[in-house]
Symmetry: C2
Subunit: 653 residues, 2 copies
């Protein structure tokens, strides 16, 4: 593996390979493209399908989750209730002169980063991680930047702002723009103060045009709305999890950075429903010794980004991570990411800042992966408390609760409202419903006050929603008293722990983490995708187009098909070395070469992509080795121990 670092990473080289091998491409490219929309070509599509398959096995099958497939079209009411209509937005600034639109936080980030780089350059320091191409782009995008040296305290201030960039409100962003004199980077023109832009795509459902809908911004809501059915399907057993894999949509203000910020993306989300009084996890012991890298909110708020490394067991014990179930999923997320090709040293868990987290969430950690674009949020893992189920239940009057038999019956001593319905109707007429609702909706604390008012004044005088003026409720119409009851069942709204995966971002990060060039020739690049998720597992290459070899090709391909190992044949006239080089770029982990010895004794050569090592053996043994290494986690040296090492001087030409 050490050779992989010998040639410095070049994003440009990676992008060329991904394009040349059609992993993905801008959608509608022949029409000029639409920013933020990408199509996956055959290798990208297969890689994605293998990751989805691994996700299903790692999470859904392993934990017996209930998978559902819900619609993307979502009516207004649902997303109004969930809070997305009001809050799912970014801040945008418009340059009134040119009509250009900027996403406010990205603009601040871009300009401050550019100024910091200009400062470094002015100080004569090397600007890290920036190649010539990047520099040109930076200069082009942010014209105002000359290499100006900044005061040390300004540098510190900028850095602190950048460390907290995800946490600012629109107003705060507006202040930063003013304070740091940030303008349209390409013209220097003034910008309007930030305004909110809702990120959901809107549409009309049905021919009348009257039912407003959106494309879902996440798969979660569909799972919440089906909660009661899922609980019943699970024979009322708790805790349990549902899961969903599907596309979601976000009308980004100014998409950039390729697959990292797109308008349509594949998500995989889990909603784990748990008793709020018991967030322990039965399998936590299995993962507790796993070491992770954390960036807790305290560290961020102090303006630093130094990582804390400890086991997830310690993190939960110290309450840095709120509870066992949250910690369990963080560990499982990490295991999944590493399994599909993420470099463990470039994976951290960043805790949300208090002002960045939804008000209802009790804790939230993002799995972030390091790329040439910085640390990228790829998986969110949040404890959303009972928020979602509660708001939908309140809006629809459906019970979204769990009933659990108490181990021992318990006494409760609560204020209860007893309404004399016969008298209520004649007295309040059309307002009877509103007054009843007012009384039954009161909290225990409010009821205590009302009981006192009744006892003291013989009546309640109150403002009732939906009724004009004040309402007077005489004591003979209502009793409010403390009543003792014995409960055998506890009814509660479950809390939700939500691991939420953005698969496109993970896919791009893995490309960066596994891309390298052979030190002997920097134009020969390799994608070291793990065999488990590589688009194709085996390249079959006949040494020549000699007619003796072609029946062997079909013999080998039918053996691979029988073994259900995805393969491709390359019987083109290119040299063996060239054919392998092509497939190194496609991430194909194994090559099987057919030569004239194969005709004689049926033996074939197996080549490993990263080391270019080769072994030779009977076809059946080679196929068995490939299967074991690909699907059973066996290493190359274990899997090929019984095969004969094979060396050739002509191989990599």
């Amino acid at each position: 593996m050490s050779t992989k670092a010998a040639v410095p990473f070049s994003r440009e080289a990676l992008e060329q390979v991904l394009k040349r091998r059609f992993f993905f491409a801008p959608a509608f490219e022949i029409y000029g493209g639409v920013s933020g929309l990408y199509d996956y070509g055959p290798p990208g599509c297969a890689f994605q399908a293998n990751i989805v398959d691994t996700w299903r096995k790692h999470f859904i099958l392993e934990e017996d989750m209930l998978e559902v497939d819900c619609t993307m079209l979502t009516p207004y009411e649902v997303l109004k209730t969930s809070g997305h209509v009001d809050k799912f937005s970014d801040w945008m600034c418009r340059d009134l002169k040119t009509g250009e639109i900027f996403r406010a936080d990205h603009l601040v980030e871009e300009v401050l980063e550019a100024r910091l780089k200009g400062d470094k350059a002015a100080r004569g320091e090397k600007v890290a991680d920036e190649d010539d191409d990047d520099k040109k782009k930076r200069k082009k995008k942010v014209k105002e930047i000359k290499n100006v040296k900044l005061d040390d305290e300004v540098v510190a201030e900028y850095q602190s702002v950048l460390n907290q960039i995800d946490g600012y409100s629109g107003e705060q962003l507006g202040e930063l723009i003013k304070k740091y004199n940030i303008t349209n980077p390409s013209t220097g023109g003034a910008l309007e103060p930030p305004v909110e832009f809702n990120l959901m795509f809107e549409t009309a459902i049905g021919p009348s045009g009257q039912l407003k809908g959106y494309l879902r911004p996440e798969t979660a809501q569909g799972q919440f709305l089906n909660f009661a059915k899922l609980l019943e399907f699970n024979n009322e057993k708790m805790p349990f999890a549902s899961a969903s894999i599907g596309k979601s949509f976000r009308n980004e203000i100014s998409p950039r950075a390729g697959l990292l910020r797109v308008r349509e993306f594949l998500m995989a989300e889990i909603e784990h429903f748990v008793d709020p009084e018991d967030k322990s996890h039965p399998r936590f012991a299995e993962v507790k010794d796993l070491k992770l890298k954390f960036l807790p909110k305290g560290v961020q708020e102090s303006g630093s980004n130094e990582l804390v490394e400890k086991t997830i067991g310690e993190a939960v014990a110290s309450k840095m991570v709120d509870n066992e179930t949250l910690g369990y999923f963080m560990a499982r997320i990490y295991q999944f990411l590493v399994k599909i090709g993420v470099d463990p040293s470039r994976c951290r868990f960043r805790q949300h800042l208090s002002n960045e987290m939804a008000h209802y969430a009790s804790d939230c950690w993002d799995a972030e992966l390091e790329t040439s674009y910085g640390w990228i949020e790829c998986v969110g893992c949040a404890d959303r408390s009972a928020y979602d189920l509660s708001v939908h239940a309140a809006r629809t009057n459906e019970k979204l609760v769990v009933r659990k038999a108490l181990a021992e019956p318990r006494k409760v001593n609560n204020f209860e409202v007893d309404i004399d319905k016969k008298k209520f109707g004649p007295k309040f007429r059309k307002d009877a419903g509103a007054v009843t609702k007012f009384l039954t909706d009161r909290t225990q604390c409010e009821l205590e006050d009302l009981a006192k008012e009744l006892a003291d004044n013989g009546k309640i005088v109150a403002k009732v929603p939906g009724v004009e003026g004040e309402v007077e409720i005489p004591a003979e119409l209502v009793k409010i008293e403390r009543v003792e009851r014995v409960e055998h069942v506890r009814e509660f709204t479950p809390n939700v722990i939500e691991p939420s995966f953005g698969l496109g971002r993970i896919i791009y990060s893995i490309f960066e983490h596994t891309f390298w060039a052979r030190p002997e020739d920097k134009d020969r690049s390799v994608l070291s995708l793990p065999a488990l998720v590589a688009p194709t597992k085996v390249l079959v290459v006949p040494l020549s187009s000699h007619s003796d070899l072609s029946p062997l090709v079909s013999k080998i391909t039918s053996a691979l098909r029988r073994a259900q190992v995805p393969f491709k044949v390359d019987d083109s006239s290119a040299s063996i070395g060239k054919r392998y080089a092509r497939n190194d770029e496609l991430g194909t982990p194994f090559g099987i070469t057919i030569d004239f010895d194969t005709v004689k004794d049926g033996s074939v050569t197996l080549r490993e992509r990263d080391s270019t090592k080769q072994v030779r053996g009977a076809l059946d043994d080679i196929v068995k080795a490939v299967k074991a290494i690909t699907y059973d986690g066996v290493s190359w040296s274990e899997g090929t121990a019984h095969l004969t090492p094979f060396e050739t001087v002509t191989e990599e030409k």
Copy 2:
């Protein structure tokens, strides 16, 4: 299988089972639902995933197709070019008084069918396929219908209209509505003439709101737009196919009939690109003897729907089916449908009527499945000619062609235009481009005429698009002559054969085709889903909750997990019979029972869902049998031949 027909099919009973077992449910049900939108619960989702997996293996892997995953969001320009903006619409009629909106063809169909049923009832004949519930619904929906006897010729006319209902234009539907005096069925109110309603969901892409987009109505366009990249990925080899699996959208006017007509649905589409001069298929011989049921257009146009049964080889030889490649895919579609549970006797291929088919298509056949709603179009199989690639190429000026070396160079003798560009500019100024385009766009036939005009008159006088008045082109500015050239390469736009699957419709049809009730108890219903695609393969049931049995449960489940056989455990306190009955409704093909003999000798019982037959053997042998029957197409009797038949009187209690 004969017992399955003993209890008549009841749609109501099926719907109850599908709902109770959460195969699917109306989306947003707790919000009152949105018509035409459904969510798949865990068994429906797993069934769908297994069908997708089978589809991938049957088509993509078997034929080495190139799978792509393209975006659903699609800009206006693309769908304008493809023709969807102008033509992807249905006809709707509005009742101005009530505001109700009807889909015109469905309305005509519904009313005429209701009248025919009323006629039958008036004649004292049994109204076929209508249970009491249906009758109530019919009466409720179509109030005007009393049981009125119709003239024989009216009956014949209605039937002929119904047989051709898919082929009418909006104007023709308007005439039918007038002629047959069709009104709002529930009020008798008059309806406006049909107007066009575009079925695409519209949205705006980006923050400016200026880029209009749609949700794709099919996955095909993304594949066409990537044609050049795919051809290159395939090393320029022809023919080849791309494929795509994903959601598409259709803003139906009035969705009805459950999963059969929905606004968001999963499609699987293949675009097979083929040389227009050679539509033979190398593997046609493998399928040529397969017998299919056809409903050719001639039969339909004669007002009949009698099926023609013959082999696909005969159908292609007689030119009833246009070409081998089209025929090959029809056969493969049939094999796929039968593999996943479609009843072969309820599958037909209906040819599109000439007026129903797009003008560019050279032939089109729908695989239709018979259900209680009638024959339902589930898979389209069309030869779309070069239409799609041609229109996108023309619009974008990108070359979407294949270059094929000619076996022998050939001479071509064509008229060519030779323009004197130096003089063209000064002479035509701003119109120079338009005049040039006019000349270069001419067909061979038109050029011949123009050459003659030049020779005769010394000039061309013509109307040029985009230029006012007539344009005069003198002979000294342009030469039009026949030139002989030798071509070594033929350049052509491939034709496209497109098999297009609506998976939701197929799924619902399979539910109907595999649903039956046990004759001894009509409340015990069974979904006889093929093991290959059943959501869960094995139910593991311990005979009791005795503590001796629980370690055996984990032993068995880990054996099944190792063998990658999806299973569920039911260790509830319900009787064995009840637990099996529950899983018969879920379509689970096998049950493994653990009893006290298992404790003694490790043997378990294997139960088959449809026959309720049981055999007994060692755990490993039972797992091996399950795998072979599920995945290798082995029959129950073969697969269990070496196991011991087992009988118990208590089984099905």
